[in-house]
Amino acid sequence: MNQFMRSKIYKSVFLILAFYVGSMAIVAAQQPWVAPDDKKAEKNPVAVNADIIEKGNDLFLKNCKSCHGDPGQKNMLALNPLPPDLGDKEYLKKASDGEIHYKITAGRGAMPTFEKVLTDQQRWEIVSYLRSLGDGPVDAGGTGGTEAFAGGALKMEVNLNDKDSTMLIRLLGTDKEAGVPAAGVKVQFMAKRTFGNLVLGEVTSNDNGYALLKFPESLPRDRDNKTDVIIKVKDEKSYGKVEQVVPVSWGQANPHKNLLAERSMWTTRWMAPSWLLITFHTVVIGIWAYLIGVVLQMLKLKNMK
């Protein structure tokens, strides 16, 4: 057998092996993920309304978006296999409620198991939210009264009460509905923080268009000793952007303490503990003075009679 043939045989053996291993991997990866029939057939026990969809949306943002991306945007993470676009209408047409719920619960491969992380109710809320992205009509009942103020015909009045740290918001119509209180509109209060906004509360306006928020007394203020509160109408799609930023000096003082102002072993050299600075310098100067004294005397030996 000559060199050429031998290498050819090795090559073909290698190729066959490689093909075999590779195809196994592909088979494993492409094995379709099928939910058991009984799970597939499960119906969503949660009555769908706008609140539930919103809750589902929130849960989606926290738990799903990091891999699946924004629904319909196809900006999912480049994993293998690719996480499906959950806002894709075709996908939603094919997948039953029970199937989506099963997959969230059980997980497989890169898809986490949410069984212990989310409650059953929460998992169904995500299903409800996803369903609302599909073609099927979704009952959005519940809150009502939205249409009248749609398209930005809404203004917000803010009243701050320093005494009990509360914010009273009133939502009133503008344009055609000028002066008419907007009822049943969800208002979100958020504190502006370094890397994101902290939700302080969500309040639905009452029949007179009022929404009241009690500011959490335990929240520290920012480094300028104030807290910027963002007040906004949550449903931007229906009402347009209705938002205000109000600085308040409620809550706790910012606890900033400059660690570097104190003397310590770990800080810069002149901020060393006083006893250390004093001891070190006294001892070093003392010993060297002593030593130099001896040397000076050595030089005087010559003159001793």
């Binding site: 060393a272 250390l276 010993i287 002593y290 040397v295 030996l301 003159n303 001793m304």
Partner: protein
């Protein structure tokens, strides 16, 4: 200093005796037999290790076997070793001098030579270990008073200075004698002796001043010497690492240092006794006494060893337990037990027998003790680092072991060569046993000693 008064010999007899003493002790300075070969050897060896250091400077510390989980290796062990050896100067010339131990007088200069050459290179060893030796001055410009390294730099510098003065000061009367007796010297050497004799004529005022200065220095050197090795031990003890986080590291290191230093002095005594033909001055009696000293220091050190290993070994806390297991029965066990048995336990046992305290046997034992002392420092410094609190993961295989590379070993040898060079130069310039102190012991009066 000279607490005992000696019987004074008649002047004529004293003069003959002094002639003999100074002839014996000054002969090695003028006898250059074999010196050229020795100097050539030292020079070549130094060039070789310097070349290794240049490679390290060029390529970085990566040429050593040190990595992130053995960030301190044999260089630091080397540093601790040299600091340890230097401590003997304080023990023999200061403590014993102050107490007035007569037999220690002829060997106190040997102890001072050991101390000075060891501490002078110790400072250099630390520079070999630096990743950026070009920034050495930063230590003086930006030095942090909270850092044990700054304390170490301070005490090493101070101890070097004191050791030098402590070496020169008791030399002054000897140099005066050399000026008078050694006439056929090269010009530079003559000038050097002229300068270093500080106008010594041996009057009472000078003697008085000399003894007072010596006393001051001997007292001063004790805390400084203790500090130098205690602070060196704090380089390790000031960390939270299992195996280093120990409160007895200070005395543990200091007592270990006395063992190493005494062994070094014994070896040097043996060399001088044979090569410099000083059998009459470094007698069997001196070896007997210094052997006893070695046993004493070794026993104290053994006691600290028992404390250092037995107490945590009894409790076996998680991480320190793993470290101790590796030392007692694991990867480091052969080195650990060899060091403890051949470097400490066997020497103690052997030296209990009188024949073993004769010059040759005790010197052989001292070699074992000294080699053991070096490896003991290695065992203190290196294995501990492989047992951090959190696992060593996601790093290459060579991060999890340590055995020095050839270049590292060469750089490691450099301080030994430098110390030998310093020692050689010193013993070619001065008598290694003090003429005036021996003369005083033998009852030669000051008048005879300082006669023109």
């Amino acid at each position: 200093m000279s607490s005992k008064t000696h019987e004074t010999l008649p002047a004529a007899e004293a003069k003959t005796l002094l002639n003999k003493i100074s002839d014996d002790l000054l002969r090695p300075i003028q006898n250059h037999k074999g010196f050229t070969m020795w100097a050539l050897f030292l020079g070549l060896a130094l060039a070789l290790v310097l070349w290794a250091y240049v490679i390290q400077l060029r390529d970085g510390l990566g040429v050593t076997a040190m990595r992130d989980y053995s960030a301190w290796g044999s260089y630091i062990a080397n540093f601790v070793f040299f600091v340890a050896v230097s401590l003997v100067g304080m023990l023999i010339s200061a403590i014993m001098g102050l107490i007035g131990v007569e037999w220690a007088k002829p060997i106190s200069r040997i102890a001072e030579i050991v101390a000075f050459s060891a501490v002078a290179v110790a400072g250099l060893v630390i520079v070999f270990d630096m990743g950026r030796p070009d920034r050495l001055l930063n230590v003086f410009i930006h030095g942090r008073f909270q850092s044990p390294i700054l304390w170490d730099v301070t005490v090493v510098t101070t101890y070097t200075a004191i050791s030098l003065v402590l070496l020169i000061l008791p030399l002054i009367p000897d140099i005066a004698i050399m000026r008078r007796r050694m006439t056929n010297l090269p010009k530079w050497q003559k000038m050097l002796y002229d300068m270093a004799s500080f106008g010594w004529v041996g009057n009472d005022a000078q003697y008085h001043a000399l003894h007072r200065m010596l006393k001051v220095l001997m007292i001063l050197v004790i805390p400084v010497a203790l500090a130098i090795h205690t602070v060196t031990s704090w380089l390790m003890a000031s960390t939270l690492r299992p195996g280093w986080n120990s409160t007895i590291f200070g005395p543990y290191f200091v007592t270990g240092a006395f063992v190493a230093g005494t062994a070094a002095v014994i070896i040097l005594m043996f060399f001088y006794r044979n090569n410099f033909k000083l059998k009459e001055y470094l007698t069997d009696y001196h070896f007997e006494m210094v052997s006893r000293l070695l046993v004493l220091t070794s026993l104290v050190y053994l006691y600290f060893n028992v404390n250092e290993y037995l107490v945590p070994g009894y409790k076996m806390p998680l991480h320190e337990g793993q470290h101790l297991t590796e030392l007692f029965t694991g990867h480091w066990a052969p080195l650990f037990w060899a060091t403890q048995i051949f470097g400490l336990i066997l020497p103690i046992i052997l030296l209990l027998f009188k024949p073993m305290r004769k010059p040759l046997p005790v010197t052989i034992i001292a070699v074992f003790v000294l080699v053991g002392a070096w490896f003991k420092r290695f065992i203190i410094v290196v294995p501990t680092q492989f047992h951090p609190f959190l696992p060593i993961q996601n790093v290459p295989e060579n991060f999890t072991t340590y055995s020095p590379t050839l270049i590292e070993i060469a750089v490691l040898i450099m301080p030994f060569i430098l110390a030998l060079i310093i020692g050689t130069i010193v013993s070619k310039l001065i008598p290694v046993v003090s003429i005036w102190e021996v003369a005083e012991q033998k009852g030669i009066s000051r008048e005879v000693l300082n006669q023109e």
